[in-house]
Every structure is written in C-alpha cells, then in structure tokens.
C-alpha cells in the first residue's frame, strides 16, 4: 500500500506540473509575441540571479566547511601535496570565478532586444592565441611544480626506514614487522595455505623474529616504508592523514614510503580531540566489506617505537611462538595436539 | 567547383521521383579520399580491428617482459609434420608464412583481373586464394594439435626452465586429487619428454612455466585463425557470387576488392604474430 502511495504521489506531482505548464503555455500562445521581449528579459534576470547565487554559495560554503577538511598533513609528503593543492586552488578558483561571472553577466547584459542586432564577430586570431598561450603557461607551471613533488614523493626510500609489511585481503589487513634485524622474512606464494596465508618462508632465518601487530605503530620523524601486497583482489592502502595511498595488487608487490611528522598525542592536542586516532582504510573497491577495513595507526616517538618493537619481537615473534612449537610437536609426532596448534596459528595470523 | 560539374550533378538528381533517395555514392566526388563508401568502411573497419589485434599483441609484450622467464620459441615451435622428432626451429611457421603470402598474392591478382572485368581470371585466382587460406588453417590445426599433445593448455604451460634457464618440455599429468594438470615431479626434479631428468628453475613449481604463455598463444593465434576462417568463408562467397555473374551485372568487381582488403589484413596481422611469437 505504502509503495503504491509513493508512486501515486510522484505521478500526481508530475501531472500537476504538466497541467500548470499546459495552462502557462496556452496563455503564452494566446498573448502571442507581444511581450516576448519582456518575458525573455525576466528569464535572463532569473538565470543570472541563479548563476550568481550558485557562484556565491559555492565559494562561501568553502569557508564554512573548511574546518572539516583533513587536518594539517601528518607527514612531510603531505606538506608537499598540500602546497601543490594551494597553488592549484589559486589558479582554478580564479578561472572559475572570472568565467562564471562573465557567463552569467553576458546572459543578462546581452539579453534579446528587438532594437539591437548582435555584433558580427566570427574570430580574432590574437585573442584566440592569447587564450591558448596563457593557459598553456599556467599549466606548464603547475606541471613542473607537480612533477617535481611527485618525484620527491616517489624518491628512493631512505636506508634508515622502518619497514611495515601490509597485506590486504577480504576484508582485513595483516601487519607484519621485521623484528630486531629490520629485515622481513621472505615470502613465496607457493607456500601459501590456510595456516600460512602470507606464504612466509619459515626456513628463511630473517623470518624468525618477525611479528604480527594489531595496530600499526610507527615512529615520528623517521622514514616508514610500507610494503604492500594483496592476497585476493585489489585493495588500496590509504593513510588519509599522511596523504599516503597505494594499491595492493595480487601478484605485484607495491610500496610507498613517508615520514610522519606528528605523533598521535600531538595530533590530539592540535585537533583538541582526545579520542583521535590515525586510521588506515581501503580505497579500492574490493567487495561487499570494502567499507569496513579499518586499522588504527599509532605514531609514537622513536624511542617508544624501538621499545615496543623489541618487546614484540622477543615475546611475540610468530615463529618462536607458533611455528617452532608446531614443528617440534610434529617431529615428536604428537598428533593429538596438532589440531589445537593449527587453531592457534590461524588465530594468530588473523 | 566548376559550374559544369554542378550542372552534371543536378542532372543526376532528376530521377528521384522513382526512389525515395539516391544510392549512397551520390556525391562520391565530395570524398576527400576518392573512394567509395564501401571501401572506406572496410578500411576503417580494418583500422579498428588493427587496434583489437594490437591490444592482444601489446598484452603479450607487457606480460612477456614482466615475467621472470619466457619459453624459448625456437624450442617450443620446432616440430614439423612427417618429420618425426627431428627438430626444425622456424621451419613449419616459415612454410605457413609463405602459404599466407602466396594466398594474398592470388587475391591481389584476382582484384586486378576484376578491374579488367575478366570473370575467368577472378575465378581462377580467387580459387587460389581460398586454397591458400584453407591450407594455412590446416597447418594451424596441425600445430595446435601437436602442442596440445605435448601438454600445452590455455591454463597450463609444460615448457619450463632448468636451473640454467634453458627451455625444456616437461611431462605433465592430471593431478587425480584436484583434477588439474600439473608437472610430473619428484622433489624439484622434472622428467622431460625424452625421459631425461632435470632440475626445475628456481621459482617454478608443479603448476608449470609461465601460465600466460599457453593462454597468449592459443588466444592470439586462435583469434587470428578465426579471422582467416572468416576470410575463407567470405572468399568462398565472393567466388560463387562471381560465378553467378553478380558483379558482372553490377558493372564492377569492387566487392572482390573489399574482400581482398580483408584478406591482406589477415596476412598483415600474421606478420606481427610471426614476429611476436616465433622471432623475438
């Protein structure tokens, strides 16, 4: 019933508009051309007013909503991007304002008049050249600035970078840290199975002190290299506050490095929000759970990070905690416990 | 435009009462290319088809350079019918290339005879073109069945590297558990077609060599073969249409010319398929 009513309402609404318009049209035909100029002028006025309302509202609303935009970039890379945005903002706003004003002003100024005839003006080489060359120059500036910063963002990773291995799958992230040796254990797809979803090669000694983490903990003012991969479909590692974004592609590992500059605590002070957390989200459509792949990022001081990483590596290294006992158990052929071990491994990996 | 031509055109407009509109070539003289709309359509169709083929070949290129290793074509395509196990790299495909070129030549000659309105000549050369196309298809069928007998599949590639990166044809079996084709291997030792054992290159497992190789081979040569097949059918139609005197009645053999364009395009594509799969 309610569905029927909804459709009925919409249909009635359309019919009402249709009837009113029919009457208006009829009146216009009856009146003939006598007040064409006047009605055309009214229309021009309305159009221009609407145009200017849109222009003013669109600019004014920028200032209203500015406070909700992303806060100050929390990384060095973000600052470069922000400066690029400022430059582009300046040029595009200027173009937007000037052209919209001209457009709607012309509509009113040159509205139809029976006393006037339009100005025959088919072309002007100098003018056309001018508005080919001027935009070309402005764009050259933007291209040069942009490419310069682009290459800075994608420059060689500094050698002292902290490495985090981020693996995406439907619909969760797995964070792996290299442990004390700062080298991640090798991965090999052919080793992948439900007990070892990442396909970590446990024969590689480097993997023995690697640990998995629930939150992404990273140190401030130190380069962080995010190594990115995906297990099933495309995902995208998006750290909005750091302006970091890179697709996770199955079969092709990607990476991106950045240097965080504001700790979580400082950001809480800046935003005056004690609840604030940096967040990691997925920015590439990956299926029905795309919208809730969340991880928390904690930016801490370098000392804190080192302490945390060392403890984790010693106490929580996946190999020593899960794989080694499993291996020992299987060599001792104590099959009775292996199923519970398997369960333990699965939970730990998750 | 000169006044005279204008008048001439005006004349041609007079009999419009009989037909709702004129044939499409009413203003052929307006064409900046001075070709009829039919030929032009064929040309642009071929241009767009060239983009389809290029996309396939570019895919081939991108996947080939992105992979760690690629089977050596001289090793993969070295068989020849009636030659047993003798290895003749490039032998058979060269023959296929010659067949296709010759077939193309025959069709050009048919087109030239068409210009002279020589029905017999057209028929003769068209027959040659059709025979060449059919022979090419036969060769391709043989090559496909040979590679399939060696174990190559769209989803599986038995051509694998040894530790030095040399290409070997490995024996493959269907895994009874998963029903999928896999290499017959013990440890990392694989048996090749002659029963010799060799060590599999690093990074390769029981799922065989680069998976996309078979897919690309069957996909691209198959798509080309499909074009050849269509071309043969079209040529057969052209042959019978000529035989029935259809084009004589129309007054020109332009249809043969259009069929020819399509046929040469098939030849053109083969040049690049030959380049990508067999030479590079």
């Amino acid at each position: 019933m309610s569905a029927f009513l909804l459709i009925l309402t919409i249909v009635l609404l359309v019919i009402v508009v249709l009837q009113i318009s029919k009457a208006a049209e009829l009146a216009r035909v009856l009146k003939g051309d006598s007040d064409y100029e006047e009605s055309n002028g009214n229309l021009a006025l309305i159009t221009t007013v609407v145009g200017f309302v849109i222009l003013v509202a669109s600019l004014w609303s920028i200032f209203t909503y500015k406070d909700r935009f992303l806060p100050v970039p929390a990384s060095e890379q973000g600052v470069w991007i922000q400066s690029m945005i400022n430059w582009t903002m300046f040029f595009t706003c200027a173009v937007y304002i000037i052209t919209q004003i001209l457009l709607f002003w012309f509509v009113y100024k040159y509205k139809f008049s029976s006393k006037r005839r339009a100005f025959w003006y088919p072309d002007n080489g100098a003018l056309e050249l001018a508005w080919t060359v001027v935009p070309a120059i402005v764009l050259t500036v933007l291209v040069i600035l942009g490419i310069q910063k682009w290459f800075k963002v994608f420059s060689e990773t500094p050698t002292d970078a902290i490495v985090v291995d981020v693996t995406a799958q439907q619909f969760k992230w797995t964070l792996r840290y290299p442990g004390n040796d700062n080298v991640l254990g090798a991965r090999d797809f052919s080793l992948t199975n439900s007990n070892n979803e990442l396909g970590v090669n446990w024969n590689d000694k480097n993997s023995h002190d690697d640990f998995f983490a629930d939150d992404m903990v990273i140190p401030v003012n130190t380069p962080v290299l995010v190594k990115i991969s995906a297990l099933d479909v495309l995902h995208n590692v998006n750290l909005v506050h750091f302006r970091v974004k890179m697709d996770a592609v199955p079969g092709i590992p990607t990476k991106m490095w950045f240097r965080p500059t504001i700790t979580t605590d400082s950001m809480r002070l800046i935003l005056n929000n004690p609840e604030f957390e940096y967040e990691l989200n997925c920015s590439e459509l990956c299926g029905s759970g795309h919208y809730n792949m969340r991880k928390v990022i904690k930016v801490v001081s370098l000392d804190e990070y080192k302490k945390w990483a060392r403890t984790q590596s010693l106490e929580n290294a996946f190999y020593t905690k899960n794989v080694q006992p499993e291996l020992a158990a299987s060599t001792a052929q104590t099959d009775t416990t292996s199923s519970s071990k398997e369960a333990a491994i699965t939970t730990a990996t998750n | 435009m000169a006044e005279e031509t204008l008048l001439k055109h005006a004349d041609t407009h007079e009999h419009e009462g009989h037909e709702p509109f004129m044939p499409a070539d009413e203003f052929e003289s307006n064409s900046p290319m001075k070709v009829s709309y039919g030929k032009m359509m064929m040309w642009y169709f071929l241009l767009s088809d060239a983009f389809t083929f290029s996309a396939f070949l570019i895919t081939y290129g991108a996947l080939r350079v992105s992979n760690k290793w690629w089977p050596d074509p001289n090793h993969v395509f070295n068989a020849m019918p009636f030659m047993g196990h003798k290895q003749i790299p490039l032998g058979f495909v060269s023959i296929m290339t010659f067949i296709l070129i010759l077939s193309s030549v025959f069709v050009v000659l048919a087109v030239i005879e068409g210009h002279r309105m020589n029905k017999k000549g057209v028929l003769l050369w068209m027959l040659g073109g059709i025979a060449g196309g059919a022979a090419f298809l036969g060769c391709q069928a043989w090559e496909w069945s040979h590679l399939i007998s060696e174990g190559l599949r769209p989803f599986f590639n038995p051509f694998v590297p040894d530790a030095q990166g040399m290409t070997h044809l490995a024996k493959s079996i269907v895994d009874p558990e998963t029903g999928r084709r896999v290499l017959e291997m013990t440890g990392n030792m694989v048996t090749d077609a002659h029963g010799h054992k060799f060590q599999l290159g690093e990074g390769f497992g029981k799922f065989g060599g680069v998976g996309a190789f078979g897919a690309l081979f069957f996909g691209i040569t198959g798509f080309h073969g499909f074009h050849v097949f269509t071309g043969v059918l079209l040529n057969v139609w052209g042959f019978f249409a000529t035989l029935s005197g259809k084009f004589e009645k129309v007054g020109h053999y332009e249809m043969i010319e259009k069929l020819g364009l399509y046929w040469h395009f098939v030849d053109l594509v083969w040049v690049f398929v030959f380049l990508a799969f067999y030479l590079l």
Binding site: I15, M84, T192, D232 | G211, A215
Partner: protein, 609 residues
C-alpha cells in the same frame, strides 16, 4: 519571434521537387522497427536511452537513500525491490551492484548510445545534406545490437546472484573471481556479453558516421562548411572506432580468465582458504586496457554535447560561433590527447612513477583546448542578442558546469594531488559534473532544440524552465559538497562511513545530497512527461514556419516531417558556413547555408585569397 523566415530561401531548393513517391510498401515493421531511416533509428536510440536513464537515475536514488539515511529502514523499498532491501535496508552487495550498474548504464547506455547514438544518427545526414547514412542496413544493425546488448544487461539485473558489482570499471581479480563477490558470477558474464554486443553496435555506428561525413556531403558542403555538431560527432565516431576495440580485447581476455582458467590478469591469488593456480598475469594490465578505452570514452560522451552546445549557443545568441576553426582544432586536440593520457586514472594503482609523470604532463595539456573552447563560448555570448528558451538555457548551463567540473580536472590530473584525492568523493564530484551533468545538459539542449525537427511539435517551455532551473541548482547542490567530502578524505564506493571517525562527520551533507538527488530525479520525470506529452499534444510546427529558431543549418530546410530521404526534391546546395548570424545589418539576422554568396562577399573572399 521577431523575424520571419524568408520563404524564398527555402523555396530555392524545393520548388521543383516532385512529391515524394514511395514505391516500396511501407509496413509498420519496416517503418518503426527494422527501419533503415536514420531519423527513426535516432528516435529508437533516444527512446532506449531515456528508458535506461530512468533506470540508471533510479539506481542512484536507491543508493543515495542508503548514504543519506544509513540508520533508517524503508519497508516501502522492500516491497518494490524485494531482496535488494532486506528488512527495508539496502544490502551491501545490492549497494555495490546498484553503484556498478548506475555507472555502466549511464556511461554506456545513456551517454554513449542515447546521446551520441541519437544525435549522430539524427544530425549527421540532415546537417550535411545526405539522404541517409552510407549504409542504412548497418545502421539498423547498430541499433539492434545495442538493443540486444540492453536486453542482456537488463536480464542480468534479475540473476539470483545479482548483476555485476565490481564497479563499472570491472577491475579483475574482483570481477574475475565469483568467490570474491556474488555479482562476479553469472551477472558478470552477462555484463561482458552485453558489452561485447555494445561494442559491436558502436563500431558499426561509428563506421557509418565516418563514411557518411566523408563521402555523402551535398554540393558545396566542404569540410570547413560543416556545423560544429557534425565535426564533434565525426571525431566522436573516430574515438569510438579506435578505442572500443581495445576494450573488446580486454573483455575477451577477461572472459578467458573467468571461464578457461587462463592467467592474463590474475596471479598469485589466495581466496576462500585456497591458493589458486594463476601465475604470471597482471591485474594492472587490465586497467591499462580498460582505460585505453575508458578515457577516450569520456570524450565520446562530452564531444557531442560540446558540438551541440556550440551550435545552439550560436543560434540563440544570434551570433556566429567565435573562432570556428579554433573550435575544430581544439576538438582535434582533445581527440588526440584523449588517446595518450589513459593512465592518469591509475596514478595510485602501482603504476611506474616515471610513467606517471609523463601522463601528468599530457593530461594537463588537455586543459588548453578545453580552455579555448570555454573562452570561445563566452565570446560567442558577448554582445549577442540572446534568446532564452529551454534549449539555450541548457546550453548556458552546460558552459557553467563544464567550467566547474573542468577546473577540478586540473587538480586530479596532477599526480601529486591525486595521491590525496584519488578514489575520494572529489573524483566523484569532478567526473559527475564535467561528464555526467555537462553531457546531460548537452543532451537536453539538443532534445529541446531539435525536438520540432524530430517530432514536428514543440516541447512545453514552462516545463522546460522548471526542468532546467531545478536540475541546474540541484546538480550543484548534489555534487558541489562532494568536493568537501573529498577534501576530508572520504573514499568513494563506501556503503557506510560509520566505521571511520574521519569519514563519519558528514551525515548532514549526505542527507542534503540525497534529498537533492531525489528532487532532481523527480524533475527528470517531469522532462520525460513533457517529452511524451509533447510528442502527441505539443504545439505543432507548421509548414509556413519550418525554421522556428531561424537557424542556418540544412536540417531546417526539410519539410515538417521529412520522409525517408529527407528532402523531397533535389538536395540543397550549400554556399556558406553555417554561422552567418547577424552578418547583415538589415533584413533577417541570419543567412542560411543555402543562400548564395552576395557579390560583395565573393569580393571579400577573393581579397582574402
């Protein structure tokens, strides 16, 4: 209107015309269904396009309901749409399906087939003075392939596992693996089949448009005497002809990956607790193939609108289009650049950063020809004598939204800024304004302008004004705030923003956007009502005023309802370009293309040469 068309001009070419005689039997089927008449085929495209636009628009309303009121339940919608709305709430899988189908339908079925299919078919022969397309039969096939494609796509909506839901860009592996999302099962197969048929339709149409423009122009219609509409449609056809084949290749390879287990786009995949045997393929490769079409596709959508707007602005401001040749060369420039910039959609996809810089350079270059066009439109209005009606209002609205949406392209084309804005609502705002709203405005302008020629009647102007002002304001209300969402990092294609503190602050704006979307959608129904009503009951066009807009182009020299063959007598001869508006200081303020040059004009031409 002030001036009355001078009848001599029309009579010039028709006076000796014998009455059209039809010797072949005209049945309902060969007149309305399997017709080879380009005008009827154009109408078929238009009707199918409008049908799809309603469906596509409705889908956007449905998912906007979810985004605007994520906590509310709507039992009404469950009654209407069944299990898409379980318990009155949109299901996430259905959400992604609706998003995907909205994109596919709008881009391909409405703006490619409905817009460029309609107007290329309708305008090319009429404006260049041809009796019909080069091959009426292939033209008919083109429509019926589109129709089949539509049927398949429509059928896919009713598949139990749902239609394709991997986004309109159908990136594998999501679209290749039925395990990844239910929509990648049968729904995706049907999507690919439908798209293959659609590509066939576009290619056949494109071949016809190109050969018709090149070969079938009437006497005197040099290339540089063609209206800008024809130029735009010509380049659109070229773009389609060269880019759609690449999508075909990509689609074929994707079909192989899905059904034969090949590894073109797949490699090292572990899903549902199982490692799959794909190796050596590259998901990024598909993105390259897709965007090699996908980027030119946006010009397929926008160029016809640009052409029509140029024509309509010139006609209704009674001024020649400013910089005719510059307009043509900017279309050419956009066409060429459009082909070499595809990877700017993929800056964050793992693209090689060096390639990224080259693509940034090419991309920003497109702003130059676009700027030329905008300034030329503005100069066309300058010191004009502007008649406002539904057609010219939409043309003016087009210029406004094209600027608003275009400038943000300079943001997104710059790879550095794209790091922040990629896949956020900023992108959604950008492309909806510049290629969605703008293309629709071009289409509406075209429909209002050429409606009398298509159906022999006028559309209701009052409804046209309501349609324009609500749509114009509404579009800004819908899409402008999306920039702000984007600047706050809110990602697109999110079913709900609750999970993230950073994204959940826009409940208020999302409500406004959704409400505006519903209002705008209902306003489009007003347009549809106007359209259907006017076909039967609109004010009639009479044979003593065949040229209601006092336009210069050839289509207005045909009878009210042109038969098959367009001109009953000889084809008109063309002597001049189509933009001689207000050239004379006395007499009518327009000089149709069929009016011979005056002696003075010939002298001027000679002195130039």
């Amino acid at each position: 209107m002030a001036e009355v068309i001078s009848k001599e001009h029309l009579a010039h070419d028709v006076h000796h015309a014998p009455h059209e005689e039809h010797h072949h039997v005209e049945t309902f089927i060969n007149k309305y269904i399997f017709t080879t008449d380009h005008k009827m085929i154009a109408r078929q495209f238009l009707f199918t396009g409008i049908f799809w636009a309603i469906i596509g628009g409705l889908f956007s309303v449905l998912f906007r309901v979810q985004l605007g009121w994520p906590d509310a339940t709507f039992p009404v919608l469950e009654k209407l749409f069944g299990n898409w709305f379980n318990d009155g709430k949109l299901d996430p899988n259905a959400y992604y399906m609706l998003v995907t189908m909205h994109g596919t339908i709008m881009v391909f079925f409405v703006l490619t087939a409905g817009l460029s299919g309609t107007f290329a078919n309708f305008l090319i022969p009429l404006q260049i003075g041809a009796r019909d397309m080069a091959s009426g039969f292939i033209n008919m096939l083109s429509y019926w392939f589109f129709f089949l494609s539509s049927l398949v796509m429509f059928a896919s909506l009713f598949v139990p596992t749902g239609a394709a839901s991997g986004g309109w860009t159908i990136y594998p592996p999501l679209s290749a693996l039925p395990q990844a999302t239910p929509g990648s099962g049968t729904g995706m197969t049907l999507w690919l089949i439908s798209m293959a048929l659609f590509i066939g339709s576009t290619l056949m149409g494109g071949l016809n448009y190109i050969t018709t423009v090149l070969n079938l122009r009437t006497r005197g219609m040099d290339l540089f005497k063609m209206p800008l509409t024809v130029w735009a449609l010509f380049f659109t056809a070229i773009i389609g002809l060269l880019s759609f084949p690449v999508l075909l290749s990509g689609a074929v390879l994707l079909i192989f990956d899905r059904s034969l287990g090949t590894s073109f786009f797949l490699s090292d995949i572990y899903i549902g607790g199982k490692a799959l045997g794909y190796s050596g393929g590259s998901p990024i490769l598909f993105q390259h193939l897709f965007w090699f079409l996908g980027h030119p596709e946006v010009y397929i959508v926008i160029l016809p609108a640009m052409g029509m707007v140029s024509e309509i602005l010139a006609t209704h401001s009674r001024k020649p289009i400013f910089g005719y040749k510059a307009m043509i060369f900017s279309i050419l420039g956009i066409t060429i650049l459009g082909f070499i910039v595809w990877a700017h959609h993929m800056f964050m996809s793992g693209l090689n950063p060096f390639a990224g810089s080259v693509f940034t350079l090419f991309t920003l270059l497109i702003a130059v020809p676009s700027a030329v066009k905008v300034f030329n439109w503005l100069t066309t209005l300058w010191r004009g004598n502007i008649h406002l009606n539904s057609a010219s209002l939409f043309a003016i609205g087009f210029v406004s939204v094209f600027i608003s949406g275009g400038v943000t392209g300079i943001w997104l084309g710059n790879a550095t800024i794209d790091i922040q804005l990629h896949d956020t609502y900023f992108v959604v705002a950008h492309f909806h304004i510049v290629m969605g709203i703008a293309a629709f405005f071009g289409m509406f302008a075209g429909v209002y302008h050429w409606f009398p020629k298509m159906f022999g009647r006028f559309m209701n102007e009052t409804m046209g004004y309501i349609h324009f002002f609500v749509t114009f304001l509404g579009s800004y209300v819908i899409f402008w705030p999306m920039h702000y969402l984007g600047m706050s990092g809110v990602p697109r294609r999110y079913y709900s923003f609750k999970e993230f503190a950073a994204f959940s602050q826009y409940d208020d704006l999302n409500k406004v956007i959704s409400a505006a979307a519903i209002v705008v959608f209902i306003t489009q129904l007003v347009f549809v009502a106007n359209f259907i009503y006017s076909i039967y009951k609109g004010r009639k066009m009479t044979s003593d005023n065949l040229n209601p807009w006092n336009s210069n182009t050839l289509e207005w020299t045909t009878p009210v309802e042109p038969g098959h063959g367009n001109w009953p007598g000889a084809l008109p001869t063309v002597y001049r370009w189509p933009y001689d508006y207000s050239k004379n200081t006395t007499g009518p303020d327009f000089t149709p293309q069929t009016v011979p040059l005056t002696e003075q004009e010939i002298k001027e031409l000679e002195s130039h040469a």
